[in-house]
């Protein structure tokens, strides 16, 4: 009874709003004393009072993962499902920062994508400090804008998996959102003007600079993305190519194409990268077809020359072993030995070139997690 969602509450993302919190965490919250004592029979108004008493943000802590009062209040909000106006009030209020965080967390869980960005981005300008309880029970220092950034960019926060929202540039390309205006934009423009003046002195240097930048820029940015317009502006700002900004974008693109043609290697590389998958398929098929037509009766599609030769030789001459023929070097050493000499020169620190493939794989995983390699 006490844990049932308000019967007038709407379904969020197709399910009971309380299901946004996972089963194990939900059960832990229901069994917690804070929930049972303080959160019983709370309404939207009384919830505000409880929220004002909040002292820290956090998920679960300790060996048996106790939920924090912050978590319990989030759960309570999901249960009673307050109106959107109330939630926006929570976010807009300036006095109580924990109430702000509570409101923004709830909005992130339940709100529509455009609402999330619209209401949470102004909070980027709030630099107040927050107390955060970590998983092992200690407190750490964080700030309001850091928490908001986590909510908007990561998909996991305070032991709750945040629902997926569309990326900002998707919403911009649809037109639901305006491109983001940073509070530091004025400062950027000032810096840019200064650099513009400096660079106006050194004209030749700027041309080289532009040429050097252009192929990299082309390579990195996918032309099809509308966000390219956006990203270019950021890059321009950073390298201080403000004077180019005034010229039209088409001229920029034409110039890039010109430079690309000059810089042939880069172009080839790009084309190669793009068509790598397709080309390889075709090459393989053509090669196999050619081979089959001319000589071999073997159906294997493997490109290993050894295998093909072995089978054919056996079929034709009826001699030889089933294993691939060992090729010998001039010294009379078998190929494997001479191959073994090479890896020793290129030995890596994190053991990812271990001869045993299982251990090499494990070491690769450990390196990606930031752990030292396995020690036999």
């Amino acid at each position: 009874m006490a844990n049932r969602t308000d019967p007038t509450a709407k379904n969020i993302r197709g399910t009971n709003p309380q299901n946004l919190v996972e089963k194990i965490l939900r059960t832990k919250i229901y069994q917690h004393t804070y929930w049972k004592e303080q959160c019983f029979g709370l309404t939207a108004e009384t919830l505000v009072d409880k929220a004002m008493e909040l002292d820290y943000v956090g998920g679960t802590y300790g060996g048996n993962r106790k939920p924090t009062p912050f978590m319990c209040l989030v759960m309570k909000m999901l249960q009673i499902q307050p109106e959107k106006d109330i939630v926006v009030e929570f976010i807009k209020n300036e006095d109580y920062k924990y109430v702000r965080i509570l409101g923004s967390f709830y909005l992130r869980l339940t709100g529509v994508d455009s609402d999330v960005y619209q209401y949470l981005e102004p909070l980027y300008n709030d630099y107040r400090k927050l107390r955060q309880k970590l998983g092992d029970g200690r407190f750490s220092l964080t700030h309001v804008d850091e928490v908001i950034d986590e909510l908007l960019t990561k998909d996991y926060s305070c032991d709750i998996a945040l629902p997926r929202i569309k990326k900002r540039w998707t919403l911009e390309s649809i037109g639901t959102l305006e491109p983001r205006k940073s509070a530091l934009e004025d400062d950027f423009e000032e810096e840019e003007d200064k650099e513009e003046d400096d660079q106006a002195m050194v004209e030749v240097g700027e041309k080289d600079h532009y040429r050097r930048r252009s192929p990299a820029r082309e390579r990195d940015h996918d032309r099809k993305h509308d966000s390219r317009r956006h990203r270019d502006r950021d890059n321009d700002r950073e390298c201080g190519r403000g004077s180019e900004r005034e010229r039209s974008r088409d001229r920029d693109r034409d110039r890039d194409r010109l430079y690309l043609r000059e810089d042939k290697d880069n172009g080839r590389e790009r084309a190669r990268d793009r068509d790598k998958g397709e080309d390889r398929e075709w090459d393989r098929r053509d090669r196999d077809r050619g081979r089959r037509r001319n000589r071999s009766t073997s159906r294997s599609r493997s490109r290993s020359r050894d295998r093909r030769d072995g089978r054919d030789r056996r079929k034709r001459h009826g001699r030889g072993s089933a294993s691939p023929p060992r090729r010998h070097d001039e010294d009379g050493n078998s190929r494997d030995e001479s191959r073994k000499k090479k890896p020793k020169i290129e030995k890596k620190d994190d053991g990812t070139d271990h001869p045993d493939p299982e251990i090499a794989e494990a070491n690769r995983l450990r390196a990606s997690l930031g752990l030292k390699p396995l020690r036999p």
């Binding site: 060996g63 092992d136 752990l371 396995l374």
Partner: protein, 73 residues
């Protein structure tokens, strides 16, 4: 290098290779990579002893081939 077996008795049985001086937290990360759960959601126990994140396997006297219980938070 030792190999530890973690079993959650509901179908997930994982064998993880690790060093003796790895901490339980590192072991949880390796298990998370293999099973797909998040590392924070994993709890490693032996009967009622819940193993703490900051202690190494050698301090807990976990040897090669030992079986641990896998629970979730």
């Amino acid at each position: 290098m030792i190999e530890v077996v973690l079993n959650d008795r509901l179908g997930k049985k994982v064998r993880v290779k690790c060093n003796e001086d790895d901490t339980i937290g590192d072991l949880k990360k390796l298990v998370a990579a293999q099973t797909g759960t998040r590392a924070e959601k994993i709890r490693i126990q032996k009967w009622y002893k819940v193993y703490a994140d900051h202690i190494t396997l050698s301090d807990y006297e976990i040897h090669d081939g030992m079986g641990l219980e896998l629970y979730y938070n």
